[in-house]
């Protein structure tokens, strides 16, 4: 009896844990399912987040690329500007170097003509210089030191070897020393460039016509005109002074030799 009771008890106890285990297994499966859903949900979320991050990265990279592109364009533009500026400065350097590289008056005048033609694009121009003689000679006007591109004999203002006035723009520039760009209604001059020696107006470079393929004077030409205004006359005067002194020196040397009976 006692043995039977024990067996029943075992059966009973073994039956109860089996139900518990089954319930526990079911619960575990449900939890696993829940976990699986959670994992799946989180994976989907992560995928969505990753997709979102990638898109953000792409747009960020695109923004950076656009900025870099813009920087490259800006730098290229600045490079072009600086090269252009370098070219302008080089031209000015060449012009200045040329003007002061010689003490031969004819060479200086040829240099001014070269600058006007090759660097400025002038086809027709006149270089006027105040005469060195006494004030009573002022009526004779300005010496036409250089004339280029005049094939028409009718150009009465600049015919002969003197300019005695007549172009209001040129006359004004010769008086007040202001660089003027034309053309104006009353004057055919495209540019009247005052020439200075130690702040004194000693003449003018008058540009009357540009080469056919150069329609107007550009901003960069102004630098060249300013340079001519400051340097052309002093170069001519220095060369003339040197030529005069050189001639006098030679005369004196000849006289000394003559006196010594050599």
């Amino acid at each position: 009896m006692n043995e039977r009771s024990t067996t029943e008890s075992r059966l009973s106890s073994s039956a109860v844990p089996g139900r518990d285990l089954l319930a526990e297994l079911r619960a575990t499966l449900e939890r696993a399912n829940d976990l699986l859903r959670v994992v799946e949900t989180s994976q989907q979320g992560a995928a969505v987040r990753e997709a979102g991050t990638a898109e953000e990265r792409i747009s960020e990279l695109e923004r950076r690329l656009a900025t870099a592109d813009s920087d490259v364009k800006e730098l290229a533009s600045r490079l072009v500007d600086s090269e252009h500026q370098g070219g302008r400065l080089m031209n000015l350097y060449v012009a200045t170097y040329q003007l002061h590289a010689t003490l031969d008056p004819a060479e200086v005048q040829a240099t001014i003509a070269e600058i006007a033609i090759n660097l400025l694009g002038a086809e027709q121009f006149v270089l006027l210089l105040r005469r060195d003689e006494a004030p009573e000679d002022e009526a004779r006007g300005y010496e036409i030191a250089l004339i280029e591109g005049f094939y028409d004999e009718e150009q009465s203002l600049y015919s002969g070897d003197s300019y005695t006035g007549g172009d209001p723009v040129v006359d004004l520039t010769l008086r007040d020393g202001v660089l003027r760009l034309g053309p104006a209604a009353e004057s055919p001059a495209l540019a009247a460039v005052p020439l200075r020696v130690q702040n004194e107006i000693v003449g003018a470079l008058v540009v009357l016509k540009l080469l056919d393929h150069k329609p107007i004077l550009r901003g960069e030409d102004r630098d060249l005109l300013d340079l001519l205004s400051a340097h052309a006359a002093s170069a001519i005067f220095a060369a003339r002074l040197f030529a005069t002194k050189d001639r006098k020196l030679r005369t004196l040397e000849s006289l000394v030799k003559l006196a010594r009976g050599e």
């Binding site: 370098g86 080089m90 350097y93 060449v94 040329q98 590289a101 033609i117 393929h213």
Partner: protein, 111 residues
């Protein structure tokens, strides 16, 4: 122009000629000349006449010619290029225009 070129092209050895005829003589004297900067308006023999003589000489095929001229119409450029110029630069010119063309010719020669 000599002094201008002297300053602009100071990195290159230069030989000068005052007209086309003299330029042909210089080319005969200096067989190593490989570039000519040529003006059109010159006394005795103008630039185009010089170019015609130069291109007629098969021994001088390798010499490049850059015309630098005040003659700036399209037909002037076409005439110069047809005559055998390598490049045509209109006056007024800037230093870098000449240097650019020379640099391109150098690269082409090196390639």
């Amino acid at each position: 122009m000599h002094k201008m070129y002297e300053v602009m092209l100071r990195q290159y050895p230069l030989v000068y000629a005052s007209d086309g005829r003299q330029a042909l003589d210089r080319l005969r004297e200096h067989s190593d000349i490989d570039l000519v900067l040529l003006d059109i308006n010159m006394p005795n023999m103008n630039g185009l006449e010089f170019l015609a003589e130069l291109r007629a000489d098969s021994g001088r095929d390798g010499v490049s010619v850059i015309i630098i001229s005040t003659e700036g119409r399209e037909e002037d450029t076409a005439r110069g290029m047809e005559a055998g110029a390598t490049a045509y630069i209109k006056k007024p010119f800037r230093n870098e225009e000449i240097l650019d063309v020379i640099s391109r010719l150098e690269k082409k020669g090196a390639a």
